[in-house]
């Protein structure tokens, strides 16, 4: 048993969402330059389906976060790093909700019907409106760039802890336990 490890649910949520978010963002940045076609529509739909999945998982994740304490940071962590870690994580939590929600708002304003993997209909949040569409499109795009930057920082911090500080912080969230040899 390794103390200071996230529980299984948190680890599964983290990596599932990491994969989904990177996929959704990648498709999102790529598709915005595509010419309109039935294939483009299909690609947009996959982006929307992934995004709605992220939203559902983000809700589960925030419930987990509200009912659990994450494992403590190493005792020697400086105050500025504690603040940065906390701010970065809450920024990521916020964007996990805000990205899909602003996409959903943008889609509602465009008047395109929305579903989840074609399985069930997802209602519009607001009425069709050109100005509202442009507003939410801008917000969605700005948040996407913010999220990309936060993910890059998150990744850089994790790698620095692992390879530079060698403080074992990454093992808190790694899908496998720390090998016994290293633990000794």
């Amino acid at each position: 048993m390794h103390a200071g490890r996230y529980d299984t649910l948190a680890i599964v949520l983290h990596w599932t969402m990491a994969l989904l978010i990177l996929l959704t963002m990648g498709v999102g940045f790529w598709m915005s330059d595509l010419k309109p076609s039935p294939d483009t529509i299909k690609i947009y739909n996959w982006h929307k389906w992934f995004g709605l999945s992220v939203l559902a998982l983000a809700v589960v994740r925030l419930i987990w976060r509200a009912t659990h304490r994450p494992p403590p940071l190493p005792a020697h962590t400086p105050r500025w790093q504690r603040l940065a870690a906390s701010g970065g994580h809450w920024g990521l939590y916020g964007l996990m909700l805000a990205m899909p929600l602003t996409g959903w708002l943008q889609n509602s304003a465009s008047g395109f019907p929305l579903s989840w993997f074609g399985l069930f209909k997802v209602p519009a949040l607001i009425a069709r409106d050109r100005q509202a569409f442009e507003f939410w499109q801008d917000v969605h795009e700005m948040l996407a760039i913010t999220l990309a930057a936060l993910i890059a920082l998150h990744l850089a911090a994790a790698l620095k802890h692992h390879f530079v500080d060698r403080d074992g912080l990454l093992w808190r969230m790694w899908p496998r336990r720390k090998p016994a040899v290293e633990e000794a």
Partner: protein, 180 residues
């Protein structure tokens, strides 16, 4: 039939012989529902004009002629409107106007009439019948039609794929006469 009696009453009150009535664009509507992945995406044409001519003694001989400025289409979303104006869909640059014209007498159907006619759209003309009912207050008519977008070449190449955008388009209209 009550509606028909009212209709004839309005006609008799306003005109004695065959007459032409122009549509009042500001209070008339021409809407359509496209089928996108099985769900309706509504739109409208904002500029259209037309006349109805009829002989009050023979209301079923009513004739309509409506000219639609295709460029005035509006689905409340700029990218979609641009796509619809493009050559693959309405090709408004080459075919700026559509025309629906009666080509025979109407026949009574339920509370209204079914009227034969032809739609000219994007350089093609095909029969598209309409069903019409008189508005209860005598100010005009409302009605609907269903047409197959693919017969008019609206949505070519990849866009002809009926799975993304269904072939059937529902058209609904509300036409009010300009008050004499």
């Amino acid at each position: 039939m009550r509606v028909c009696a009212m209709w004839i009453g309005v006609l008799l009150a306003s005109q004695a012989a065959a007459a032409e009535f122009r549509f009042d664009q500001s209070s008339s509507e021409l809407r359509f529902d496209g089928d996108y992945l099985g769900e309706a995406v509504p739109g409208r044409f904002e500029r259209f004009s037309g006349v109805a001519s009829f002989d009050p003694s023979q209301p079923l001989t009513i004739r309509f002629r409506t000219e639609i400025e295709v460029d005035s289409l509006n689905t409340d979303y700029a990218d979609r409107d641009d796509s619809l104006r493009a050559p693959e869909f309405f090709d408004v640059a080459t075919h700026p106007r559509a025309l629906w014209e009666s080509d025979g007498a109407c026949r009574a159907q339920g509370a209204g009439w079914e009227c034969p006619g032809r739609l000219s759209l994007k350089g093609q003309t095909h029969p598209v019948p309409i069903t019409v009912t008189a508005l209860a207050d005598g100010s005009g008519v409302e009605g609907r039609a269903t047409l197959d977008r693919l017969r008019f070449g609206v949505g070519t190449d990849d866009w002809a794929d009926p799975e993304t955008i269904g072939p059937a388009v529902e058209v609904r209209f509300l036409l009010r006469w300009i008050k004499p």
